[in-house]
Symmetry: D5
Subunit: 147 residues, 10 copies
């Protein structure tokens, strides 16, 4: 039974072989780079027609589109990531997490930023002292409710 | 010996007592809300003159300014945060961390987003289906080097 | 500086001394038992007027009402709870969690039950073979979104 | 030797192939959706005749019915689940667990809600601000005994 | 506010001072040694009249009886105990746990031995090659139920 | 090279196929149910002649008898077991472990119950309110020694 | 209530103040250095008369002798020790533990070296390339038993 | 590519088949039992000529000698071992580790026993109350140095 | 799809077979030993032409050069390494980490040594009392920035 | 009883008050900055005369010199450090640890770099693209020995 991990391996093989980028796959899908990449890595589902476009673009078997549209189990390492590129973000969570919470509460009241009704982009911003990685995240504010 | 935790408690007591906001403290400091809040929570250091402005604004003892300008040890929970507002960000790291790494590498080459040469803001963005928390982070790209 | 833990201790002392129940405190607050109990244990915030009613009912100092209305940091044990009454619920999460996820997805699509826009009650249901604890939880369905 | 994991894979393959739902399997079994789903996922056993009905309905080999009726080892992740749909329930356990314990004890005395003599349902409840996931759990109260 | 830990310390101080045994306290309580000892260590509650007998026998303040009759939070080390006397039991759980499960299931069907409707005794049994510690535990069988 | 895990799988396959019980295997071995079951699960060794009887009874290959008589490495989960039937015993260790230690010490002096010179049985005891699982364990008392 | 930790602190204070060695305390006790040191650190109990000799030698209050003769709870770090002197021994356990087990089993049969009926000494052995720490441990062999 | 684990399996298969002991392998190697056993288990390297003798004695393929002489990665369980024979040694580390450190420091000064310039033997010592396992370890004292 | 782990295995097989050293591979690559070794072990990427030289030198298939130039996920054990050669470095981090931080801050201000803009060498330094391993690491100082 | 932690606090208080640097304390001690700093932080011992110089220089009480010369227990966080300045070094251990081991073994044979017969310095090296932190560590090579 073809799994999401199988499909990710097929996609990576195509990318290596044909020098395809995530940007190109996202363009074929008609959605953002972050979302499409995460779906191809098995962390989100694509609507069936979007999955079909990705599978067509990459020349994968038809079952791959069904797999890409199935709802994933988001299983990620439970503690501290080790790859520096991902760890730095974890570190930012540790260093600025409490400040983030204080400011969300000050600006909105008691509640949280949704991680479900959420979007994010990653940009390259030119800078004279060295280009910068810019991340813009946005999530609906969800207030706690009394009952 | 007065510690950073002591100063954070003094600041919170003043805020409760006089209904002062983080926004007001940041304005007194002349720096961004995220940075000043994190420094008041003991996670960053303020330059001595900035620390002096904060201490004057809040009416704290002079030693507090020295403490705010000392270099902190950034000690944060080593595993999974539990407060939902902070956890959601940790979850985003888990769900989108690998996609983030793929896109940084595709746009810049092998390397990372710096968590040191870094800035961040938290905004309230009006939205008809419910206002959104927007976070904009930017860090210098640091390429891996061969030698 | 009075903390939420201090207020919880004050409330428990009053309850021991005057044989007050959570049901009575909830009635004084005009909200549900689960929510009010969790707020008195430091896991949720009360609106200022509700906090005032609780403090008046129990005869606590006025600062306690401010503390009850401040936004909490929800800090709970990060791994496996040991008290059997709480552990059983954790066990239910383990045994039925995957089935729960399958059924939510089948009935609603890809998404989750909100733990923020959420309510819950605990009831005693008479039963001839021994009364039963009934828990009714309800949370808004939050669909994952493409972007 | 055919294992419960093998049978779960067979069931999922049939569901993907023939677009069968958990609701349909539960109806074939004549039991509730939550229980039947959890048994198909390997977390509970079915009585032999019920297992037979499921296997007939799905067109699986006869040995699968024996496997479904064998008593499982309920092995689940020992710490914090990561999939958001399951994590939120874990979070509810953390945030409301102590309140739940207080109320069970207040309503029944010292004891627990059984996780064995237990049932549960998951419903979709229409709501104008967005439909809600409703979970109703019920477990026999088990009092601690002196001896 | 007097806690269960405070009462345990008072009891141990009396035992050291007056050379009182757990057997004597259990006799005063009119219950078994295992149960009374566990309650004095804060892991179970005593009925008010039993708590009163213990407090009278040991000459403790009256509030101690209220504390002994309150329902405890059973908080124990989450991983591997280190004291050899307790560790050996943990080791028995590891070595014989699976065999225990197989035999319970073979003799009773799918289900468990209750840890709530439960009793236990610890005896000294004379033996020519060295006396033996005998533990007899008994718990109600709780069958899993379909629904 | 045939391993203990291989032999356990062979035994389970025979039991499923021919509806053989642990009780029958123990009778063939001429030893207790708990010990024989634990040896068949790879947690203890059988003397060569006993191993031979088990292998003959089940119709396994001759090498299986050698494997059953080899000394095992007792490798069990290092933290908290999750299957409820085994977890309850772990919970009993947590709740009553300290009381057990107090009583062993009071009855015998400073020392422990051996987990090596040890035996155990699991019985079904009829009871009008529901049959009970009875466990009787006995281990040699081992006193600590000064030197 | 005086604890074992209190007594250890008293002993260390006397040792610092009067430049007393563990060797001298052991000589006063009339027992080995390893055992007496471990008892003074709270990890073993001394017989009352031995405890009395230690307390007299060091000039401690009489209650200290009672405390030294009480049975300890051997509570030690559950994972990896960090002090290099202790860590090296842990490392030896890791590197040579399996070889040790093989050889014990080859020389004695299935069983273990007792950690209770156990003694140990630490010696300084002169050596031309640098003196060596010699540790001699001896524990009764405990065979596993069938039943 | 043949690994150390492959060679260990080959050695164990030969031992089972031809009833060869570790003592015999050590004699063939001309080194101690502990060292040779640990090398055959993949935790140490043998000099090429010694490895050749072992491989000849056991009749293994020539590549096995190369593998036995390669430098191992000593990878062992990071926390608490569970097999009782190895666990007891870990327990001794926990109970006597601090006393060991005190005595090493008292006899030698600040420093440690080397785990690299180290040797160890395991002996069977006859004793009227039951034979004893004797372990003699010796490691060079390594003093800490100022600089 | 050929992975970095596959390539590492190929490289190790060639090194065993043809007695090639890391020094020789580094010379073929025209880069330092530390960097090239880490890249061959899958922890860094080589520029395509450098990867080509390594692959040519070792006689590996052409796809191996593509794999060596892909950007790795740096996945390493999350807690305490056990091999003594690596553990000692971890121990140095523990013992001297805080001192290192103090001195970096004293010499440079608040900030860190980069682990990305970083180089390192390992040398053998002759010494009359035994040759020494010398490690020289150098990383760009990255100052924390206010904003 | 004055502890090493007490002395560290006294030293930090003097440094804050009188703006004394670690460099100045090291100069007063006549030893290197890294070693003296680590000893003042409680991770190493100073010889009595060196300790006396430090205490005189800082104007601390005489007992502080005794404490500084006592042998420490090197207790450091067992898992992943969080302060970025220390974490980066831990990360280097993870990323380059295996390469380090390969090169030590290639240059010296099977063995390790001592962490006891060890020295280290931290330097500021000017560089046109930003000054660099240079760390030079040197430890005696300790070969594994057969026996």
């Amino acid at each position: 039974m073809m799994t999401k991990a199988d499909v990710t391996t097929m996609i990576r093989a195509k990318m290596r072989e044909s020098k395809i980028t995530w940007a190109a796959i996202a363009e074929a899908a008609g959605l953002s780079e972050v979302f499409v990449t995460s779906a191809c890595l098995g962390m989100n589902s694509l609507l069936p027609d979007v999955a079909g476009k990705v599978v067509d673009f990459l020349g994968l078997p038809a079952e791959a589109a069904i797999v890409l549209s199935e709802y994933p189990t988001k299983d990620f390492p439970r503690t501290v990531p080790t790859d520096p590129c991902i760890y730095r973000w974890y570190e930012i969570t540790g260093v600025f997490g409490e400040a983030f919470k204080e400011l969300v509460q000050e600006k909105f009241g008691d509640g949280i930023m949704s991680a479900i009704d959420f979007d994010m982009e990653v940009n390259r911003v030119a800078h004279e002292k060295g280009d910068r990685v810019q991340v813009v995240m946005s999530g609906k504010f969800l207030p706690y409710k009394s009952w």
